[in-house]
Structures are given as structure tokens and as C-alpha cells.
């Protein structure tokens, strides 16, 4: 009985809505000149950001009450497939959140609207490396407004450092000394494990960037050096020396377990990305966290973090609402948006002039001022075998004691040489 009543009321409500929609449509046809709120859709792979985007979009609507943005998110792992299929079929959203570097996750350039500084003057707000990240390799054109950067660094537990009477190290030798003291006091120095392949790449980026150096990256890109270079192999050798300070049985400790080690206060340091901060604090809000960049070989060397960009916002070439989409994109490039974005999502916006509320984000932004790129992701992720695949497996093997640093360097070089001309010899 009750169910019957409910059904009836639902039917009535639905009919009411239908009538309203028809009425709205009729008036829209009747008065085409009149300003109507225009709906544009935006697709993303970040389902967890839905609530934050509702606020960010509300801020945009203050400037453009005539444009309404609908945020739709898909499962991250399937996003590229869903998006590419939609774009190939000539459908899809108006504004597309795309991945960074090379293909942007859409395959072909013609699916997106090429952009430049005349269309989006806000590009001036971004550093060159961010712009480069949203440039398609196939045609060298810029397609998206960048959104977040991620930084590879070392996160440490301030309370455990105090308890052991140590301070954040500056040089590699100091790092070894700090690790030794922590271990003697019964604290795991690093929470890191190596069972999850991609963690091995983050460990290299976080711990070794200062040892590898910016010059090495430039030499590789100029074709003057490869990964058998003493700077790269030497850095791997240093990493190999400190593996005893990783989580116990680290070769069998996967990503989730290593996160728990650190978040539970059982390890003093974690070599990883700035994206971990929010995650650690969610698991254990009482953690007092500090950050430092990879230690240098000798005092006075440049300290570096490894940096990459997460992705950007682009316009679907098939969109019939390009103007509205462009207005939205320009807003996404303003410091106003960058500040709101960073504070809502605890992510680093690369936009110049962004003000961070979170002191840890402020620290990351400071460290970002001397950065090299997260080398394989930024430069060698365009063809198989990607530099990332090679480095991850190589380092995992080395830390398991099954390969020497020199062998890893040779293996990485050999793999990349199958498509990278300067390495072919």
C-alpha cells in the first residue's frame, strides 16, 4: 500500500519535472536571444575530487554565471580507454582532463583543440616545464592547461627524529649516519619496501636526484651521456649501500604495507612523492611530518627534488561549446583557481602566485624551486620498453641482490636504445 503511494508520488513528480523541462525548452526556443545558462561537461579520472570540484566550479560561476560546468569522474584505471573511445567516436565531454607528457592519454592530436598564449593568456602563469608537459609529442603543439605537480622527496616523522636525537641530513654520509642512529635506537629508518614495482622508481627519484644531478639529465637529452654514466651508476651504488635501512624483509613489502609502516609511526622516513602527504595524514592525523630533498654527495652541491606534472585540462575538438570551454580553461589558469585547488585538494598547483595554506605544501613549493625532472616519466615514457619499466625492474633486481648497479645501467641503456637514436651505437 505504502509502496503504491510512493510509486504514485514518484510518477507525479517525474511528470512534473518533464512538464517543467518541456516548458523550459519551449521558452528557450521562443526567446533565442535571451541569455541562457550554458551547460558544459568536464571528465576526470579523479573520482575522489568530486566535492572539491563542486566548490571550484562555484568559484568560476561567480565570474561566469552564464556557464554551468558538470563534473563527471570515471575509474582511474579505465579512464584513458573510456576517453579515447568517446573521442574516437566524436563524442565525449567539452573539457577533458588529460594526462601529461607525450600522448596526454588521448592518442591523436586531432581530438583536442590546440591552444596558445593568445587564446589562453594565463599560460604566462606557468613555468616552462609545466607547459612542456602538456605538449603533444606527435606535433609539438600545446593542448592543455596544467593542473598539479608532484614532487619526489623524503618525508620524515619529526617525533621519531627527536626521539632519536637526529636532524634531517644534508649530505649522503649524514643520511647514512642518521639511519644508523635510528636503527640502533630500534626505529626502522625507512618504511620503504620494493615488492611493488613502481615504488622502486619513486625511491630513485626521491633519494638520488641530488646525486644524479641536473647536468646528467641534460647530457642524456643532448645525447652526450647514457645510463651507464658514472653519475647514474654511482648513485645507484649508494642506494644499494643503504638498503639495509629499508623495512624489514623489504623485498616482500608492498606499497600498502610500506605506507602503513610509516603512517603507524613505525618508520622514521619514507622516500616517496608529495602526493603521499595527504594520504599519511588521513591514515594518522597525529603525525608530525617534515620534508627534505635528496641528500647531496658533498656539502655545497645543489640539492634537488624530482618533479613531474600530473596532467592538464584540454578542450575536445568535437565540442560545440568551445567558447564556454575556453572561458573555463582560462579560469583554470588563474592564481585564484590555483590557490583554491591547492588548498581544497592538498596538491601543488604550478601556477605562479599561488598561496598555500598548508605549511607542508609551502615547504614542497620551496623545495620545487630547485628541481630536476622525474627523469624516466618525463623523458622516456613514449615507447616500449619505457624507461620507467626498465628502471623499476632493474632497481628491484639490484636491491634484491641479483644485479649490480653497472648491470642495471647497461640494461636500462640497452632497452631505451631500441628507439632512442642517441643511444644506438
Amino acid at each position: 500500500m505504502l509502496a503504491g503511494l510512493q510509486t504514485k508520488s514518484i510518477v507525479r513528480r517525474t511528470l512534473g519535472k518533464l512538464a517543467l523541462t518541456l516548458f523550459a525548452a519551449a521558452t528557450a526556443f521562443a526567446a533565442p536571444g535571451q541569455a541562457q545558462a550554458e551547460d558544459i561537461t568536464m571528465w576526470s579520472w579523479r573520482q575522489e575530487d568530486k566535492a572539491a570540484y563542486a566548490k571550484l566550479i562555484a568559484a568560476f560561476r561567480k565570474h561566469h554565471p552564464d556557464i554551468n560546468v558538470k563534473f563527471e569522474a570515471f575509474e582511474a584505471a579505465n579512464y584513458n580507454t573510456v576517453l579515447s573511445t568517446a573521442l574516437a567516436g566524436g563524442t565525449g565531454p567539452d573539457v577533458v582532463q588529460v594526462r601529461a607528457y607525450g600522448t596526454l592519454g588521448v592518442g591523436k592530436p586531432d581530438y583536442l583543440v590546440p591552444l596558445d598564449k593568445t587564446m589562453v593568456p594565463e599560460f604566462a602563469n606557468f613555468p616552462d616545464s609545466a607547459i612542456a608537459a602538456e605538449t603533444m609529442r606527435a606535433d609539438g603543439k600545446l593542448y592543455a592547461v596544467p593542473f598539479a605537480s608532484q614532487t619526489m622527496l623524503i618525508i620524515y616523522n619529526k617525533e621519531l627524529f627527536e626521539k632519536a636525537g637526529v636532524t634531517p641530513p644534508n649530505t649522503w654520509d649524514e643520511l647514512v649516519a642518521v639511519s644508523k642512529t635510528l636503527k640502533e635506537k630500534g626505529i626502522n629508518p625507512f618504511g620503504n619496501g620494493t615488492a611493488t614495482a613502481w615504488q622502486n622508481e619513486t625511491i630513485v627519484g626521491a633519494l638520488l636526484s641530488s646525486l644524479i644531478g641536473r647536468q646528467f639529465e641534460q647530457d642524456v637529452l643532448a645525447g652526450k651521456a647514457d645510463f651507464t654514466d658514472a653519475r647514474f651508476v654511482g648513485a645507484l651504488a649508494r642506494l644499494n649501500e643503504i638498503k639495509e635501512y629499508f623495512a624489514p624483509n623489504f623485498s616482500g613489502v608492498d606499497y600498502a604495507a610500506s605506507q602503513q609502516f610509516f603512517a603507524a609511526g613505525r618508520a622514521a622516513m619514507f622516500a616517496g612523492g608529495s602526493f603521499e602527504i595527504a594520504n599519511f595524514l588521513r591514515q594518522n592525523p597525529k603525525l608530525k611530518l617534515g620534508l627534505f630533498a635528496s641528500p647531496v654527495a658533498k656539502a655545497g652541491d645543489e640539492r634537488l627534488v624530482a618533479l613531474f606534472y600530473d596532467g592538464g585540462y584540454a578542450i575536445n575538438a568535437a565540442s560545440k561549446k568551445r567558447d564556454a570551454a575556453l572561458k573555463f580553461l582560462r579560469f583554470l589558469g588563474t592564481p585564484e583557481f590555483g590557490t583554491a585547488f591547492s588548498n581544497e585538494l592538498q596538491n601543488i598547483s604550478p601556477i605562479k602566485g599561488v598561496v598555500f595554506e598548508n605549511p607542508l605544501l609551502k615547504e614542497v613549493a620551496t623545495l620545487n624551486q630547485s628541481a630536476m625532472s622525474y627523469i624516466m616519466l618525463v623523458n622516456f615514457r613514449y615507447q616500449e620498453p619505457t624507461g620507467s619499466v626498465l628502471l623499476q625492474a632493474g632497481v628491484q633486481k639490484m636491491l634484491a641482490g641479483k644485479a649490480t648497479p653497472a648491470e642495471v645501467g647497461a640494461e636500462v641503456t640497452k632497452g631505451i636504445a631500441t628507439y632512442y637514436a642517441p643511444f644506438k651505437k
Partner: protein, 310 residues
């Protein structure tokens, strides 16, 4: 009058048959045959990520079988699949057969054992994967703790972290999950054997082992046809468990990489390391399909003939 009625009856029968066959046929064509054919055709093109390029004939197939970089991974994965097939044959099917024999003889509490053995089969692979990942955790996992308790602490291992133990650990987890299935099929086979045959064998003075190997085993060949064929297909299509427990790369450093993982990350890309490459991925999928279809047919034909020979 009579023929009229018969004709109508015939037509009705034809309509019924059409009604029963056409919809499933349509579904098969749309959801099985068409995707297979489109995968086949996609394998003949160059792909730039998800974007289709020029027709390149058999190049993708040649690459994944013999090309630089690809071939080494393909054959490594294939060897791992072979290992998985033979290892599962021993620990899953053979032990399943012995378990079936154990239960068939109705020992004390056999009803409980029958349920206990079959229980894991109904769990989802995702659940089993996570469960065993927890069990095998080197620091807090049940397996290492049990070793400690048994005074065998020296045997503690980071099971999923070293190349010597990772793939065998996955095989054991899979066997734990599925062993109830061959056991059940064999049990059904054994229950079909007329009791008189077994009694006659006993009267002739056969030992328990002789009865098992000379009488029971040959008489349950139809069950073997089923379990072995399904095991073959399962072992070469293996994907979920290694994906959950070892990750898309077949961690550590490729020692658990099987064709399923390799195909998946080649075609759809590994977010944390790789790129999308539909051409080579589809070529791998087609080769896997052909290999499984051909060999599964051969195995079935061979085993069927054995059944008849009895």
C-alpha cells in the same frame, strides 16, 4: 485436413526452434564473435596508443614473437604459463584426485571435509588474492608466523618478494582456491563407478593403491578430460590472481609475469610504468586465443579417445 494439421505443427516446431536458437546466436555473434574478429583485425594495424594507424600486415605478430624486446618478454611469460600449468596439474588436479578418493571412502567427518575443500571455490578471486597477500606478508603474515610457531623460523621468507618463491606462492594460492573443483568432479566420477567392480577387485586381492591406480583412475577418465582441459585453459588465461598479488609488471622483476599480464599491460598500458599499445596487445591476445583453442581441442580429442578405448 490431416496434412494441414501436420504442416501447422511442423511450422510451430520450426518457430520454436528458431526462437530458441536465434537470440542466443545473436548474442554470441554480437558479444563473442564480433569482438574476436575486431580484435583480430586490430592486430593488423599500427597503433599509436589508442589511435589506429596504417595497415601493417603481420608485423605486430612478428614483433611479439621474434622482435627485439617484445620476444624475450613473450617467451618468458609463456615459460611461466607452462610452469603454472604443470605445477597446478600436480598440486591442484592430482591432489584434488587424492582428496576425492579420501572423501569417497567416507572417513569420519567426510561431510565436513567435503564442504571444507569446496568452500574456497565459491570465494571471489579478488578476495582470495588479498587474503593470501596478507598471509604471505613477510613481517605480519600468517605463513611466516606459523613457521615461527612450529620452530621453523629459519624458513621465513619474503615469499612474494623473491623470484624463487613468488610464482610457486601464487600457484599454491591458486590451488588453495580451486582444488575443490577437480575434487568434486572426480568425486562425482568415482560415485558413478559400480560398487561391484571395486568389491570384485578387493576379492581378487588388490591392495588399496592398486584399486586406486588400476581401477578407479582409468574409470574416471571422463572427469580427467574435464579437469585437465579446464586447467589448461585456466593456466594459459591466468590473470586475476597474479594481477592482484604481484601487480601488472609481474613483480619482482618479471618473475611472475604471465601472458595474461603481459597482454593486458601492453594493450591498455600500465599507469605507473608503461604506455598503451593496442596493436601489439591485440596480436598477443590473438596468439593466446589461437594457442589455447588449438591445444585445448587436441587435449580434449586425445582424452576422449582414451575414454572410448576403455
Amino acid at each position: 485436413m490431416q496434412t494441414d494439421y501436420r504442416n501447422r505443427e511442423k511450422r510451430r516446431r520450426a518457430a520454436w526452434i528458431a526462437f530458441l536458437i536465434l537470440p542466443p546466436l545473436a548474442i554470441m555473434l554480437t558479444f563473442v564473435v564480433w569482438p574476436l574478429l575486431s580484435a583480430l583485425s586490430a592486430a593488423f594495424y599500427r597503433w599509436d596508443g589508442m589511435a589506429q594507424g596504417d595497415f601493417i600486415g603481420l608485423k605486430n605478430f612478428a614483433d611479439v614473437l621474434f622482435g627485439e624486446h617484445f620476444a624475450a618478454l613473450t617467451w618468458r611469460a609463456f615459460r611461466h604459463n607452462l610452469f603454472v600449468f604443470f605445477a597446478l596439474f600436480v598440486v591442484q588436479n592430482s591432489v584434488g584426485f587424492l582428496l576425492a578418493w579420501f572423501i569417497y571412502r567416507e572417513p569420519f567427518g567426510f561431510r565436513f571435509h567435503r564442504i571444507a575443500i569446496f568452500m574456497p571455490v565459491i570465494l571471489s578471486t579478488v578476495l582470495v588474492g588479498f587474503l593470501w597477500k596478507l598471509f604471505l606478508d613477510p613481517n605480519f603474515g600468517l605463513v611466516n608466523q606459523l613457521l615461527d610457531m612450529a620452530g621453523l623460523g629459519g624458513l621465513r621468507q619474503p615469499w612474494l618478494g623473491q623470484e624463487t618463491t613468488a610464482l610457486p606462492a601464487l600457484v599454491l594460492a591458486n590451488a588453495w582456491h580451486w582444488i575443490g573443483f577437480p575434487a568434486l568432479v572426480y568425486l562425482a566420477g568415482m560415485q558413478r563407478i559400480p560398487r561391484e567392480i571395486l568389491e570384485a577387485a578387493k576379492l581378487d586381492g588388490c591392495t588399496g593403491w592398486q584399486i586406486l591406480t588400476r581401477v578407479v583412475w582409468p574409470l574416471v577418465t571422463p572427469s580427467t578430460t574435464i579437469t585437465l582441459t579446464l586447467l589448461f585453459i585456466g593456466a594459459f588465461n591466468w590473470f586475476e590472481l597474479p594481477y592482484i598479488m604481484a601487480g601488472l609488471d609481474g613483480s619482482p622483476y618479471g618473475s611472475t609475469d604471465v601472458l595474461g599480464l603481459y597482454f593486458y599491460r601492453t594493450a591498455f598500458g600500465n599507469q605507473t610504468a608503461g604506455i598503451q599499445d593496442f596493436g601489439h596487445g591485440n596480436a598477443l591476445a590473438v596468439l593466446m586465443f589461437l594457442f589455447i583453442a588449438v591445444f585445448a581441442t587436441i587435449i580434449t580429442q586425445y582424452l576422449r579417445r582414451r575414454e572410448v578405448a576403455l
